[in-house]
Point group: C2
Chain length 347, copies 2
């Protein structure tokens, strides 16, 4: 039994299939999408049934169980010759989050000998990765919560919660741990245009756990900081370069600039699986562009006039120099840089 | 015949009534609301049928014509004893834009002797204020366009265009003048949550005039600046304090911080009627809070879960120190401050 560590169950394996909480339907409906083929997992990641860098990493791990299982059923011991295209498709399903590649590498390391049924071994590995992500988030929560004093008001962006991970959350893991210590007065959630992860997911997730949350427009954050209303900004990450530059949801860079201008601590909370030591800096991280339509309409209602183009990068890069604290499962770094980040992997 | 100076006719007087382009319906429908009583003008300002500091100033001027006309019809020469409550309601219909008070003061100065029909005189004054606002915008455009070189890419926030003024626009007046000089490559419009003035109004207005415009999420501005895509940020203003602090649409302060961090010129374009010399600094400017519902739903679709509160300040204050250039109809100031702003009124 996996410890989901919050009221929210984002994804789980059941009876030979991967169950994904459909995040497109939240907060209005709590529905699960069942994936019994790897192609369904790829589609679920592409269409954001499941989103959040750690969560899509774990979903991909289960996707490999499905891909290998299908290849084994069709091709027996020749299954290793038939899984690469599906694994490639998994890796390419979203370009920015490095956790996809991390999960795939972790699964490949444990590919069993081709002779027997590979499924039990690989399912064990995927479930271990799943449990380890929850445990990492709990550790992140503990390391990060130390930075929050009584009556802390925290601003978070997008959703880096249980819904973005295997459970508990990264940024919201820090919030959960601090809440248990009695130190959270209120969380401010940016609505996070265009996909409204903050308005739809973060508010819902915190509401499930009874943590006070107030929604603001993305562009109201600086005014709130100016008024002294925020003690700490905490976000997750989709990929962290070797030098500490952080790719995360569009708008994170803006919040980091605003936090620095107001002397507010800017904290990034992410597991080691989010750190890409092959990317020397943020410029090496691919930034996903999503369809203009995400900006041009809402729930079938056009917002802008026909014929107007939109530019819709869904991630940006925050330079390491703007990150006051990077919290991982092995500890927190103040002023992360190349050397201190490399050191995290030696502990 | 008023020179509207753009393809867009925001408001006009016709057959004893004020016609207001219903900005709630744009860009989907071009419909006018006809106001024949001052109460209708108050309601139209409150509900944002008409919005934009200069536009609501001119609407209020016509509203006074209606208020005085009605009082004269009912009370004859005793009309001056019966108009104050309506004029107060006009002044209180939106708290941040000072142009309301400015227009009311300008009209009061010309209140005719109580004996005769006051309407012809006051309509003349309102129409003069209307023409003067258009002329001011044209002058703002000329003074501001000098700062834009060939192939300029401009970022603007909210709508400070013909739709926000009596015609031509302030920020978009600068864009229109620079476009005529052949110096605009593209305008980036922030969508401007929660009311989507950028997505709904600025894109539509620029499209009418054939000026290339691309929509972005509010939170994508910093990434665009970082990539070198923006030469100048231009916004309007709802109220400018004596020291140069600027109250404008929520998010303006954020954009000013981002522009400064990237060495991008931050320009505010506004007529003198927007400068409130009685407000020593931004802290003296009232900031309107609008209903949480503007953030919690869109076109009848709930976005956030039931029971989640929202904080919805619709203006913020940008300190004068972040404003590189203030453009008014009497000229542009680089690094505006108390002394240089006071000097504008002596020219």
């Amino acid at each position: 039994m996996t410890d989901y560590a919050s009221s929210v169950r984002t994804l789980y394996w059941e009876d030979g299939g991967l169950m994904l909480l459909d995040q497109r339907q939240l907060p209005h409906q709590v529905e699960y999408v069942r994936c019994v083929a790897v192609e369904q997992v790829v589609a679920a990641i592409e269409t954001m049934v499941v989103r959040g860098a750690p969560a899509i990493g774990i979903a991909a791990a289960y996707g490999i169980v499905l891909a290998v299982g299908s290849a084994f059923e069709k091709h027996g011991s020749r299954w290793p010759q038939h899984v690469d295209p599906q694994i490639d498709a998994l890796e390419k399903s979203r370009p920015t989050a490095v956790n996809l590649r991390w999960a795939i590498d972790a699964m490949r390391k444990h590919f069993p000998a081709p002779a027997g049924d590979p499924r039990p071994t690989l399912l064990d590995v995927a479930e271990r990765l799943h449990r380890e992500d929850v445990a990492a988030n709990r550790a992140i929560g503990e390391h990060g919560a130390i930075y929050l004093e009584a009556n802390a008001q925290v601003l978070t962006h997008c959703n880096a919660g249980a819904l973005a991970t295997a459970g508990y959350g990264t940024a919201l893991g820090v919030v959960r741990s601090a809440w248990r210590l009695g130190n959270i007065q209120r969380v401010y959630a940016t609505e996070t245009r265009p996909w409204l992860q903050g308005a739809r997911l973060t508010t819902w997730e915190l509401q499930q756990d009874g943590i006070p949350v107030t929604l603001i427009a993305d562009s109201a954050a600086a005014q709130l900081m100016h008024g002294g209303g925020i003690n700490c900004v905490i976000t997750g990450a989709d990929r962290i370069a070797a030098n500490g530059d952080v790719a995360n949801k569009i708008g994170t860079y803006t919040l980091a600039l605003c936090a620095r201008a107001h002397g507010v601590r800017f904290m990034v909370a992410a597991p080691l699986s989010t750190i890409d030591q092959t990317a020397p800096n943020g410029a090496a991280i691919p930034i996903e562009q999503r369809p203009a339509e995400e900006l041009l309409s809402y729930q079938g209602h056009k917002t802008a006039p026909l014929g107007v183009p939109a530019y819709n990068p869904v991630f940006d890069v925050t330079p390491a120099a703007l990150i006051d604290t990077l919290v991982t499962e092995v500890g927190a770094l103040d002023g992360p840089d190349f050397a201190s980040i490399a050191g995290l992997f030696k502990t």
